[in-house]
């Protein structure tokens, strides 16, 4: 195969991947820019009515600004908490085999498989008894707790692949294994940390199952709750829903773009050589 042909093939495959992923988003955009009466398809190509009023109506109608703020506060703080708690747990589990750590790891792993719906009623009673309904702190702790199994699993798996020499050299320099983790190992975790931030962050940003019960007041509403306002008792306001969904999507995409630069080839590999 000639290099030109190979290059061309690469672009073709890349182009296909982009196209497949993006078509439904185009339909979403189309819905978001159509007049309420014009959700039917006309013509071969989807040319929207460019009715931008939907975005304004969606923003005002569901008080998206406030929802954006709430979602940001909850997601950022919960993800920060997850990164620190889960990386520490992952490190201890990966590096120090004890009965305690094994139990913790297996418990977390097993709970990843338990459908969360099973705890709906008991969790609700708990949230009520700790006065956690309609508060940021309880929602942050709750969503962070729910994301822990996956995060610890990710961290533990990746730390196991790092050679122990990483922190042992630091220990020889007088660190304890505890401080060596924060001084040295943590910096090798960037790819997995960005994966954790992206995966759990999006889960929390899109969380509906818990938010629907525990964030009841209009001031505490998050983006998914705000979007659900466009589903009516009968039917839905699709155009406004699509517009709100696109607005709610923007910050999530931004965060993804910020964090994906840590997927640069060789961070770990290059550093390990030294």
């Amino acid at each position: 195969m000639s290099p030109e042909l190979r290059q061309g093939l690469k672009y073709l495959i890349g182009g296909m991947m982009v196209l497949i992923s993006i078509i439904p988003f185009y339909v979403l955009l189309y819905l978001a820019m159509n007049t309420p009466a014009g959700s039917m398809f006309k013509g071969l190509f989807l040319l929207p009515d460019f009715y931008f009023t939907n975005f304004v109506d969606a923003w005002n109608g569901s008080k998206l600004g406030r929802a954006m703020l709430n979602s940001t506060i909850i997601t950022c703080l919960a993800v920060t908490l997850i990164v620190f708690v889960a990386s520490a747990a992952g490190y201890s589990i990966a590096r120090y085999r004890s009965r305690l750590n094994l139990t913790i790891f297996n418990t977390l792993l097993a709970c990843m498989m338990i459908p969360a719906i099973i705890i709906t009623v008991p969790l609700y009673s708990l949230m009520k008894s700790i006065d956690g309904i309609n508060t940021y702190w309880a929602m942050i702790l709750l969503t962070a707790a729910n994301a822990l199994p996956l995060s610890v699993f990710l961290y533990a798996s990746f730390i196991r692949t790092l050679p122990k020499e990483v922190e042992e050299s630091a220990v020889l320099d007088g660190c304890t294994y505890f401080t060596a983790f924060y001084r040295v190992t943590f910096h090798f975790l960037r790819p997995v940390t960005s994966a954790v931030v992206i995966l759990t962050g999006l889960g929390i940003w899109n969380n509906y199952g818990q938010a629907v019960f525990f964030l009841q007041s209009q001031e505490m509403r998050t983006i998914p709750l705000a979007i659900s306002m466009f589903f009516q008792t009968y039917g839905a306001k699709w155009n406004l829903m699509a517009a709100a969904a696109l607005i709610g999507l923007a910050p999530a995409v931004l965060v993804f773009l910020l964090f994906q630069r840590y997927f640069i080839k060789g961070i770990t590999a290059g550093a390990l050589k030294g």
Binding site: P24, V27, L46, A89, I93, I117, I118, A245
Partner: protein
């Protein structure tokens, strides 16, 4: 005194998992224990529940609708989990090879996972709806209207559509984890392999895949879990219908909970846990053995 503090410091790394388990214990394990208790009762969320032992579990296996839902759930996962891993890995390998604008491709492929699957499911319905969807419309416009078959109205073809949409939605997530794994493989290992005369396939088989094991493990496990607990995509595309033909266990559990069968729905959730647990444990057992062989 200083020795004492030093001793704590020196051992601190052994207990670094405690904050995680404390937080998790309060918000998951503690309610879970109560939830398991509820599964042994005939609770309807209103009247005082009676202890019924394992009756809920017996009822489950005697119920036609429940058995059908188990079948649907497993069929869905059998299609969805392997395809997600296959495409996720292929995408990651392709992007890892270096392509101008790969950051863009990566972001776009990941885009579906960023948005709620419920909303995306409805958008897919706008595209795939028989007779009225965008696809049907395009087919009609270009004279291929006869291809517009009622995909979503039949259980088996609807299942294929549901699997395809699920793979579309989450392939980016799988890809991300594989990419993170690929970044961890030192480039000099490939060089060494090529110098040793390994073919590209050989390098993949003997260098990449074994070193990618942590990522494979995470992806297989999360995809098994995700596929077996599928919910939103089905709600949006078929709502479990027609009738109960595409109802998954997760939908069943929620409907039972909302239908005042609280105790029963909790029991079904535990059964779903077992359905997820078995393939995950099997996978981890089998691969752990071969991990050391490699």
């Amino acid at each position: 005194m200083r020795i004492w503090i030093h001793k704590i410091n020196a051992n601190l790394h052994r207990y670094m998992a405690l904050p995680a388990i404390l937080l998790f214990g309060l918000f998951f394990l503690y309610p879970l224990a109560q939830g398991i208790g509820i599964s042994l009762t005939d609770s309807n969320g209103m009247t005082t529940p009676n202890f019924v032992g394992l009756q809920n579990f017996i009822d489950f296996f005697a119920d036609d609708r429940a058995r059908n839902d188990v079948r649907i759930t497993i069929l869905f996962a059998l299609g969805s989990a392997p395809l997600l891993n296959l495409f996720g890995l292929l995408y990651a390998l392709f992007l890892d090879r270096g392509l101008p604008g790969k950051g863009f491709v990566r972001a776009v492929v990941y885009l579906p996972a960023v948005i709620s699957p419920l909303i995306m499911g409805y958008v897919w319905y706008f595209i795939l709806q028989p007779e009225r969807g965008y696809l049907a419309h395009v087919l009609k416009e270009i004279g291929l209207g006869f291809l517009d078959v009622n995909w979503l109205g039949e259980s088996s073809s609807a299942l294929v559509v549901l699997i395809a949409v699920n793979v579309w939605q989450y392939v980016g997530m799988t890809m991300i984890v594989y990419l993170a794994g690929l970044q961890g493989i030192p480039a000099d290992l490939y060089e060494a392999a090529t110098i040793d005369g390994a073919s590209r396939w050989g390098a993949l088989r003997y260098v990449t895949l074994p070193l990618l094991y942590p990522a494979i493990k995470i992806n297989v496990v999360t995809n098994i879990i995700g596929s077996l607990s599928v919910f939103e995509i089905i709600v949006a595309l078929t709502d479990g219908g027609p009738g109960y033909a595409t109802e998954s266990l997760s939908i069943y559990i929620l409907r039972m909970l909302y239908g005042s069968f609280t105790g029963y729905s909790t029991a079904v959730a535990l059964i779903l846990f077992l359905i997820i647990l078995i393939p995950v444990v099997l996978f981890l057992r089998i691969t752990r053995k071969s991990e050391y062989e490699l």
